[in-house]
Each structure stands twice: as C-alpha cells, then as structure tokens.
C-alpha cells in the first residue's frame, strides 16, 4: 500500500502554491544562471584551447626592422627545428582615430575563423574583427573607411592570434573599441600607405615541450635572431597577451559565481527548513497521534522534507535545462563582449551538473534533514502535549517596563526568533549582492574621473629612441617596465625634480615614490623596501619607498631622472619620451612607440565596465528578488504561526489594522534593524571580496562606494517589505474570527 500521507503533498503544494512557485522560480533561475555560466565558460574555454591546434596558433613572432637576408629565415628554421611564416602587417587609421592592423590571408599559421560573411576577394573588401565591429555597430555589407580608403565589410572574424585585442603587448588593457585587426587582399595590402612591419610567426615542430623548455627555447631564438638582424619586436606565445590573456582571464569569475549559488542555496535551504519546522509545530498533535499509532520518525521526516526536496529537484532540472538551452548564449555573450573568440559549441559539462544540481540538492537535503530531524526528535507524548521545547524550565523572558504594544511586539519577535534570524541572514546576503551590483559602475566612473584629473599631460609620448623636439612645454622623462614578485608590470618613471607636469613631488636625492594603488594593492608602507626585477634578464632592483603619490592610473614608481639613469646604468641624458600639453608634430610617427592619451588611461575601467557591466543589473535584480522572497516567506510564516492568536485578538475587538500593526510591525522592526546592521556589514564583506578580486587583475582600482549606494539599498529593502506587508495585511484581514475557536476545540 502506498503511504496515504503522499496524498497530502499535491494538496499542500496547491494550498501554498505561491510560496512554492516563488521558491521554484528563484531557485531554477539561479541554477539556470550559474549552470549557463559554467557551461558557457567551459564551452568557450574548450573552443579557445582547441583553437591553438585547429587554427595553428603561433609559438611566437618577431618583427625585423627590414626584410631579412635570403638565408636568415631558413637558418633559424634549421637551427631550432621550427617553421617560420611571414605575417606582415600595416597599421592604419580610421577617420575616428581607431587603429586598424591590416593583414593578408594566412593559410599556415594563426588562421582566421569567419563568424559571419565571406573572406574578402576584391581589393575594396575587408574582413574585420567581430567584437570591434559590434562595439562600433558595423555589420557585414557596411562601408568601412580606413587608411583613407573605403572598404566593403565582407566578414566578421576572429583572428586566432588576437583573441584579446591588445594593440601593443605593453598596453595595460586590451582595446576592442578602438583597435581591430583586419584582412584584405594582397593587392589592397600593397596599396596601403603605412610602413610594412616585417613580422614573422614561428611554429615549433616539437609539440611536447613544457613551459620552461618553451621559454628557454624562445630566449635562444631571440638571441640568435638579435645577433643576425635588427629586431624591433620579439614575443613568445606565452608572453603574448593578445593570445594568452583570454585563457588566463576565463574561469576567473567561476569561483565567485559558484559561491553566489551556494550562498543562495544555503539561505533557501534554511528558509525551507524553518517553514517546515513551523508546519511541524502547527501539526504537533497530528504528528503525536501518528507517532503514537506507530508511524516511525523517518517516515514522518521524509514526508515533511519531500516537498522542499521535490521543489529543489524540479528547479535543478529546469534550471539545468535552461542552463543548456537558453542561458549559455547569454552568459557567453559576457565573454564575447570582451574577447574575440572563435566559434564554439555548447558541450555537456559534468562538472557543472554536479555543481548546479547535485551539490545544491545535497545542501538542501542536509540542512533540512538536520533541522527537521531535530524538530521531530521529540517524543510522541511531547507532540501530543504540544510541549515542543527541549528546555525544561521554560520561562518568559523578562522585558523592561515598556508600554504594552512594545512588549507584545517584542514577544512576537522572541517567539519567532529562528525565522527572524534566517530573515536577517537573507537580508544580509541580499544586501551583499545588491551592493556588488550597484557599486561598480559608480566606482569605475569615479576611477575614470580620478585618472583624468591626475593625468600628467594632455599627451604622453613614448619614443623608440631618444629624439629632440621643439614643441613648447615638452618635458623629457624616462620610463621602464619592471616586474614585481607577482610578475605584475610596474612602470618606473624618471622625472625632472622641478617637473611642470608631475608637481608636488620632491624627487631630489634618492627619493622614490610609489603610486598609491601600488602601495594599497601590495600593502606597502613608507620606509619599506620594494624589490623589482627585469622581465627577461631577471636583474633585481631594490627601492626604498619614501612616500606615496596620488596617481591611480597605473602601478608606478617615481624617481628623479638621475636616480633612474643610475639605477639602470644608462647615460644621464637618456630619456624615453615626453610629457606635453601640445601635440608633438616634429617627430616621425614611426619613431613614436606609443602615445598615451586619456583614453589609454581609462581603458581598464572602460573594459571592465564593458565586460562586467552586464552582470551588475543581473546582481541587482537577483538581490531584489531575494529580498522580497525572504521577506515574504518568513513574515508569512510568522502570520501563519499566529493565525489563531490573530483571530483571538480580533475576537477581543482589535481591528484588522491594529492586528496587522502588531504582527506586521514586529517584522517591520526586524527588517529595518536587519537592513541597518546588514548594510555596513555587507560593505565590510564586499570590501574584503573586492580586494581579493582585484588582486587577480593587473592594475588597481581603489575601493570606493558612491555615497548614495547605501541609502539606496536601505530604500529598496524598505520598499520591498512595504510591498510584502501589503500582501500580509490582506492575509491578516482574511483570518476569520472563528479560527481561534476552531483551534481551541
């Protein structure tokens, strides 16, 4: 015979359908979001990893100042057992000032994936990067002007050696808004106005080398070429951000997203358990009778946790289906908004299934098993007598001599403390999520404002070699890049002690200043020694920190030019470039390695905004729903638990409004207090998370929360409960007077 108690389940589901639908939707959407993210992440990572073989991504490339002599390339090939392929390019500009790097078709190495359209066949046709095109609203068929020529866009592509659009490898951040790679026909390429860069990519025949061996070999290749030709650039694959950054960055958010899921699941599991516990309390005498009749504790345990488990299981199944069918593309679009990835297919991910289905179900099962088992561990007699506490000497808590209504409400809060504790935890996690969703955009804007206001000059030029200029106000500076212990690039500036551009900084003597972001990120204090090293030679430099300098744009070190030249052992009149408020026009552009503009300084914030910006509204919406859900579930529970009490006070003559005032206002007090405690606590939590998160990124954005964010969270929390309390008010109104009499029977 089937257990007749099973017949209760669909009826209970029906009678409390609102609660179960809300829980189901919230849980399934959370799981869909996380599952979609993990599936997309895994599918894209697989496509990215596979692209190395599929599109024969180079093991490195080098650029020669001029065409090599006849035998040089074959000598290198023979010496190192590699194949070398020309990968010439020309940089051009668009009327908007964007940089276009023109290439011709590559058949052997770094092949290109066409995502939409066809490769160009005519001389006025062009294929450009898909992400750049999206960022600039360019479609196949549009006319695209670059290098003062009009091209018809025939394809949107992904270059396998530019999964991340770094214009220069030294750039702090990639720039998919103002830089693209492009493919044109051979004839179109020959007609370009810019200087051809004689770039060659190599592919090693030995595919089984480990990272160290590859590094050593590329060093050997570099030294060999440098002896025989003039190298203007040399970049092994492992150091090429355009190729590797995507791989390093992918999966970084995975841990965070998973924890988001687990936190939500734990909070929901407790919410389920607390509501089940309340049901058990309400049905105590029935449970006592069933136990007295011979029902075992485990039969009742499974009966009471069946609905939460079934709801969670259904949500996990639906969430996973959505996670495969709907959300991966949404989630993938977050990556595709940052990276130029080749085509991907959604692949089955057992790990995602375990993390989004089995683990959440296990958490819900475990939390409910423990809490409901404890609730059911009382003896049948205790259930029959409704003696549901383990404390032998139960006494009412002593309250101060407040007015009656305050004491009444305090008693309600004390009576429902378990539910209110869960409500507090729910409000706390919702506040954390909401703060996370709200703070980033203003933080980026604030950062950009700071960066712009602290920039040294309108133009900052980095030259290929020291060259003089007659531009008025141009000031020489030295710059070099070193790495710290974490292999993060630090820019070293050597400046004039009486600089017109970097003011308020006394760099006389051996004084060394660190940008405040650098000090903050690595916890460096004035007076500390900082050890930096050369990327290739490994030469170490120890600097004693004098003080910090407010320069948020990059992790930098400032010293006098004299100290700089001494430190690097170069001529005292050497320099790397100019600070200038005027555009320098008397230096050949080809000899300018980089021009750092306002855009270059804010590019990191722009890109972070671009790639993560879509996540923020999701977090905002998510946390609002969680606010409402937790408030609704737990305050509803308080009302249901007190149904006969509410009915009784109505019999005594309290109006609906007064009854609601007593019970709903008790929850109001808890909500407001929870918000007031949670908001600063969530600020503290997010600050900790933020620091850990930012350590993973290059550069540093100081933690900053716009002053309106905290009050806004409070207001949203209060509005959410205002909406919930309207529903509660209705519920209280509907409680009949006869309820109390019925229950006393």
């Amino acid at each position: 015979m089937k257990n007749p108690l099973l017949k209760r389940l669909p009826r209970e589901l029906k009678s409390d359908i609102g609660k179960y639908i809300a829980l189901f939707l919230f849980l399934s959407l959370t799981i869909a979001f996380v599952s979609g993210f993990l599936v997309a992440d895994n599918s894209l990572k697989k496509a990215y990893d596979d692209s190395f073989e599929k599109f024969t991504v180079e093991d490195g490339h080098f650029i020669l100042a001029q065409l090599p002599e006849d035998d040089l390339l074959s000598d290198i090939e023979n010496e190192f057992d590699i194949s070398i392929y020309p990968l010439y390019f020309v940089n051009g500009e668009t009327p908007e000032g964007h940089t276009v790097r023109f290439y011709t078709q590559r058949d052997e190495v770094d092949r290109i994936d066409v995502l939409k359209g066809e490769f160009p066949e005519k001389d006025d046709e062009i294929a450009i990067d898909r992400l750049y095109a999206e960022n600039n609203n360019i479609s196949v068929g549009d006319i695209y002007t670059a290098d003062k020529k009009n091209f018809k866009v025939t394809a949107l592509t992904a270059f396998s050696d530019y999964s991340c659009l770094y214009k220069n490898n030294a750039d702090m951040m990639f720039d998919a808004n103002k830089f693209t790679v492009a493919l044109v026909t051979d004839d179109a390429f020959d007609s370009l106005s810019g200087a051809v860069q004689y770039c060659y990519a190599w592919v090693d025949h030995d595919r089984d080398m480990d990272d160290t061996a590859r590094e050593d070999k590329s060093d050997e290749i570099m030294k060999y070429i440098a002896k025989k030709a003039v190298l203007t650039d040399f970049l092994a694959q492992q150091n090429n951000h355009a190729i590797t950054f995507t791989g390093t960055d992918m999966g970084g958010d995975k841990v965070m997203i998973q924890w988001l899921l687990y936190i939500v699941i734990i909070v929901l599991a407790f919410a389920f358990a607390v509501t089940t516990r309340s049901t058990i309390e309400q049905e105590a005498s029935v449970i006592g009778t069933l136990r007295a009749s011979g029902y075992t504790r485990s039969e009742l345990l499974w009966h009471y946790i069946a609905l939460p488990l079934l709801t969670a299981a259904a949500a996990a199944v639906v969430g996973n289906i959505l996670g495969y069918l709907v959300t991966p593309d949404m989630m993938a679009s977050m990556y595709l908004h940052s990276y130029s990835l080749t085509k991907y297919t959604v692949i089955w991910n057992a790990d995602a299934f375990v993390r989004t289905t089995l683990i959440p179900l296990a958490i819900i099962l475990l939390v409910n098993l423990v809490i409901v088992s404890v609730s059911l561990s009382l003896s049948p007699l205790q259930f029959l007598r409704r003696d549901l506490t383990r404390k032998k000497n139960r006494r009412a808590a002593k309250l101060p001599n407040w007015r009656f209504l305050s004491r009444f409400r305090t008693r309600i809060i004390l009576q429902n403390r378990a539910a209110y504790i869960i409500l507090f935890i729910g409000i706390f996690f919702s506040s954390v999520l909401m703060l996370f969703g709200m703070m980033f955009s203003p933080l980026m804007d604030h950062f950009k404002e700071q960066v712009v206001s602290s920039k040294f000059s309108e133009y900052q030029y980095l030259l290929r070699m020291p060259l003089e200029t007659d531009t008025e106000g141009a000031e020489k500076y030295c710059a070099a890049a070193l790495l710290n212990d974490n292999d993060e690039e630090i820019t070293i500036y050597g400046i004039d002690p009486d600089s017109d551009y970097i003011t308020g900084l006394d760099v006389s003597g051996d004084k060394v200043y660190l940008s405040d972001g650098f000090m903050e990120k690595y916890g460096i204090e004035s007076g500390d020694n900082v050890v930096l090293h050369e990327k290739y030679s490994g030469d170490e430099y120890t600097l004693r920190v004098t003080d910090k300098y407010d320069y948020p744009a990059t992790l930098s070190v400032f010293m006098s030019r004299e100290t700089f030249c001494d430190m690097f052992g170069i001529d005292s009149d050497s320099f790397s470039g100019y600070f200038s408020d005027e555009k320098i026009t008397d230096i050949d552009e080809k000899l300018i390695a980089a021009t750092i503009t306002e855009h270059d300084l804010t590019i990191m914030a722009d890109q972070l905004d671009d790639s993560m910006g879509r996540l923020f509204p999701i977090f905002g919406a998510f946390s609002t729903v969680m606010f409402v859900l937790m408030m609704y579930l737990l305050s509803k529970l308080v009302i249901e638990k007190n149904t006969s009490n509410i009915s009784m006070i109505k019999i005594l003559g309290y109006t609906d409004r007064e009854a609601s005032g007593l019970y709903s206002r008790a929850t109001w007090i808890v909500v407001v207090l929870s918000l007031l405690i949670s908001i600063p606590l969530s600020g503290f939590t997010i600050e900790k998370i933020y620091y850990t998160m930012m350590l993973e990124y290059n550069g540093w954005l100081s933690y900053w929360v716009a002053p309106w964010v905290y009050p806004m969270i409070f207001v949203i929390g209060v509005l959410c409960f205002a909406a919930v309390s309207l529903i509660l008010m209705k519920k209280i109104k509907r409680i009949p007077l006869a309820q109390a009499l019925k229950n006393m029977e």
Partner: protein, 232 residues
C-alpha cells in the same frame, strides 16, 4: 491475562517538585475486554494509558502484551510495537486537515499488513456519505468517528481511548461509546478507555478506579449496560 502491568511506577519533576503519579500499579486485562480507567484529573490514568501505548516509559515495573515486554524495547522497537498492537483515540481528534475522511482512515490502514476492509469500516462508522469530506467539513462527532476509524482499521490488539468523549455533547458521546462497543464486539479488540465520566463504567467488562496514583478498585462487571442505555 492478555495485558499485564506489574508494579508500574512513574514520577515527574525533580527534587522538591517531584510528584509520584503512579505508585506501583499492578493489574491485568483479558483479551477482548473493555476496560475503563476511571478517576479524577491528575490521578495518573492517562499516564498509565500512555505507558501501555508505549509513548511513555515507566520509572520501574513492566508492561507485557501477550507475554511481550515493552521495557527492553528501544525507540525503533517501540514504534513497531505501537504499529503492530496499538490503536489510539484522543479527546482532540488530531486528523490531518488536508486529507479526506477516507484518506485519514487509510493513514491507519497503511500501518498494517492486514488492515480491515476500508469501505466496511467507513460504513460501520456511519461515515459513508461523508467519506470524501475533509475534517473541517465535519461535526465533532464525525471527526471522532474518523479518528476511531483510523485507529481500528489496522485491527490493533488494543484500542486505547483517552477521554474519547471529552469534547463531545451528550448525544454524540453516546454515539461514540456505542461505536466503540460495536467495534469491540465485531473485531474483538481489547479496549481501554480513560475517562472521568463515572457513567461510562457501566459499559465495561472491567473497571479500574484510580486516585492519587494508586488503584482503589479493580472490579469486573458481571452485568454490562449497553452504551446506548447509558445516562448521565
């Protein structure tokens, strides 16, 4: 004796607050008899009923049913003991609010390998027209009938009734008592009724009177009065 109680003692509280509720109860009940435990509030009759039912344990003494002693049983075995031997009826009916009359009775049937015929029980209980109603649609008497149905459907060896008419009016009380009587004669269960209503003793085969935790009288009724003829 089918049910044997030997020197059952039970007290509650500690130290100065310690109250001895049962002070050495020894008695027995024959199989198929109706036994009424009679006494004022606090005399210990309900506690004794709970000890017989295996939902409370004595401080000392033994309970045995058909030679099977409950003292040595652990929690799981006690559950099985109740499942196999005991049917419970309380003053408050404790029905499951979202199950129908029929389903509430099935809750009891599930516990037995050989339950009685469901429809027959429902008819015996006079609930046939109400079998698809939920408890809130029933009168108190009908709810108590359902509770009795739930207890007897598994055909328990002993039916324990704790103040089964305590919440009912005169006429309904008599109906319920008659039903218990019918059930006893039809299915032959041993029935133990706890009550403070002196009139009920007349329908019993055996009457045990309690006061201050002791048995004051333990008498067999040679002439029983049918429940329908009881008056108080």
């Amino acid at each position: 004796m089918y049910l044997e109680l030997d020197d059952i003692k039970k007290s509650f509280g500690e130290g100065e607050n310690r109250a001895e509720v049962l002070k050495g109860i020894t008695c027995g009940v024959e199989k198929g008899h109706i036994c009424v435990l009679l006494g004022p509030s606090g005399s210990g009759k309900s506690t004794l009923l709970n000890i017989i039912g295996g939902i409370d344990t004595p401080d000392s003494g033994t309970v045995s049913i058909d030679g099977e002693k409950t003292a040595a049983m652990n929690e799981k075995q006690l559950s099985q003991y109740r499942r196999k031997h005991i049917g419970y009826v309380f003053q408050s009916y404790n029905l499951i609010p979202n199950l129908t009359v029929k389903e509430n009775i099935e809750v009891g049937a599930y516990l037995s390998d050989k339950p009685l015929e469901l429809d027959e029980i429902i008819k015996t209980l006079g609930l046939w027209e109400h079998k698809d109603k939920i408890p809130s649609q029933l009168s108190g008497g009908q709810q108590q009938r359902t509770a009795i149905g739930r207890a007897i459907i598994k055909n328990p060896d002993i039916l324990l009734c704790d103040e089964p008419t305590g919440a009912l009016d005169y006429n309904t009380s008599k109906e319920i008592l008659k039903l218990i009587e019918d059930v006893n004669s039809k299915f032959g269960n041993t029935v133990i009724i706890v009550t403070h209503n002196d009139a009920i003793k007349l329908m019993a085969d055996q009457v045990i009177k309690f006061r201050d935790g002791r048995i004051r009288h333990n008498d067999l009724n040679t002439v029983k009065t049918p429940a329908a003829e009881l008056d108080w």
